[in-house]
């Protein structure tokens, strides 16, 4: 299905072919077309194979529902991390994500969770921003941006 969509939708929409190369083997779209056809053929073969062995696989029942839920939860945390980066920034987002993930994986000692959730993002912030001079993405509520902006005022008071 993806192969068909790729061939008939993605290539015309997202591959620019200069006029003199249309339909030639040297066209930028030539290899993508070959790959989408290959993907379609291989997927059809896989589908056929899966239908034949479906009964046997189903009898084995190798993936339990609880495992699916656990894996799905971790995937949701990953998505939440990306959203958190946009809202609270990289450092605070990382702290929250680490805390939630560690808790989700079974750790229940608040000091351990809080310790890692605070120390790790701060260490990373120091390494990336202060040593490697990499600017973190700005966010709606970027706490570290505010602290950085407020530094002259804080040092004036101090």
């Amino acid at each position: 299905m993806f192969g068909l969509v790729g061939y008939f939708v993605f290539i015309p929409m997202a591959v620019y072919v200069p006029e003199q190369f249309v339909g030639t083997g040297n066209s930028p779209a030539f290899l993508p077309k070959v790959m989408f056809i290959l993907l379609g053929v291989l997927s059809a073969l896989y589908l056929g194979q899966s239908l034949i062995v479906y009964k046997r696989e189903a009898q084995q029942g190798h993936v339990r529902t609880s495992d699916w839920l656990l894996a799905g939860g971790t995937a949701l945390i990953c998505i939440g991390f990306i959203i958190a980066i946009h809202i609270v920034g990289m450092t605070v987002g990382a702290g929250l994500t680490v805390a939630i993930t560690i808790f989700y994986f079974g750790e229940r000692r608040p000091l351990v969770i809080a310790g890692i959730a605070i120390i790790l993002p701060l260490l990373l912030w120091y390494f990336f921003v202060k040593i490697a001079h990499i600017l973190f993405p700005s966010s709606w509520l970027g706490l570290m941006d505010w602290l950085e902006a407020a530094r002259p005022a804080i040092s004036w008071f101090a």
């Binding site: 591959v15 040297n26 291989l42 894996a71 990306i82 990382a94 994500t97 680490v98 990336f128 490697a132």
Partner: protein, 503 residues
Amino acid sequence: MINFDVLLQSIFLVLDWKVLASCFAGVVWGMFVGVTPGLTGIMAVVIALPLTYFMDPQSAIALLLGIYVTAIYGGSVTAIMIATPGTPNAAATVLDGYPLARQGKARQALEMALYASFVAGMLSTVVALVIFPVVATFALKFGAPEIFAVIVFSITIIAGVSGDSLLKGLIAATFGFLIAMIGQDPIHGSSRFTFGVHDFQAGMHILTLLVGLFTIPEIILRGVEAFKARDTVSVGEMGPALSFRQFASYWPTYLRSTTGGSLLGALPGLGGSPAAFLGYFLAQRFSKKPEEFGHGSLEGVAGAEAGNNSVCGPALVPMMSLGIPGDTTTAVLMGALVIHGLNPGPMLFESSPEFIYSVFLLLFVALIFLLIVGSGVIHMAKWVVRLPTHILFPVVLILATYGTYAVRGTMVDVMSMYAVGFLGFLLRIQKIPAAPFAIAFILGPLFENELRKSMIISGGSVDIFFSSTIAVTFLGLAGLSAGVTVYLHWRLRGTNAAKMISD
């Protein structure tokens, strides 16, 4: 032949304190990852890749080689102590290592694994250093059609890393090829699959793909599982040390298993796991006490560990001389060199021979560091195997995200990394292997570039690929390699051997 003047220059390159410190750091990190069940050697290399951005190429490759060499041995610590191979390469070590630990001889097993790894690593690197210049000099005669034929040959390694289903491996490889096409077309510079996103013009970064493909699915699938497994850890007494007499009595085993492992290492696509099983098989086949194998034989541990560690040096030969990665980890190492503007292959040997020699010398250095760090780990083995993986996985998740962002400073890379991660997760639950995906992504642009350059030279005729003896030879080898692999897949289909190798 080895150029001793260049070799001398490369010794000075290696003896820089920054390079040595990077190599040592790599060994420590590789050991840490190796002894942690669930974290594989390739993950160790991938997680460390972003750090290499801030290093010179020499220090960067020193760090990655340190990890590459050590993660293989590190996996044997948990294999021996808790019957859980830290890396797939240590699967054969469990067979005799764990029974030895249960008999109260854990220390002997760990020391045997370390010394066998060291000896095999040293011997195989000497072999690699000697044969490398011969292969590289030959490779200097290559033009676009010959390079294309070599790439076609190297693409057949996809079949070798496809596990127990060639069809699934090919599907994964097709996805890899397609994702490699995101960005500008290599000949005309036309946009392909960028969908108007400016950050996609330069294509998907290799690091973004590798981190997404290998780290994220592992965290999603193994994090909770690793926490569950932690409760089952049980370690007996460490027992007496290995005597020199015991160590020296297995010299023929080291040599046999090293020879077998080196041969497999130099062939594309096979990697450490089959080499370990071959080493173990050779040790058992020629042993005076074959009945002890599987019940706690030091010779079995020696054979397996000599087998898997003898892969490192020879696997670098096809990568450095022809640009063919020997296995998935060397494919990532190749990607790391490309990131630093060094394209492995005959031209690199021509332009920077001292760098190439220094890579092999760094393997020796990494092995010496392995001996030092490994000896320390043996004394701490009882505690090391109790690493809290339920804390480690979340930390790895954060490091992966920061590392990916740091490469180009754009959130598009982070989102792409997670998108590839979820795709990798879906592929994984369908039991579609990740290695062909990564290899196709790395080789895809080279494949297209050389194919189209050849077609431009020949005016669109495919005869160019059959007009050179070298090209015809490599295309023939590619056909042979694909045929043999398909035959082996068919013969091994559904057996435990196929499952163990694919795992």
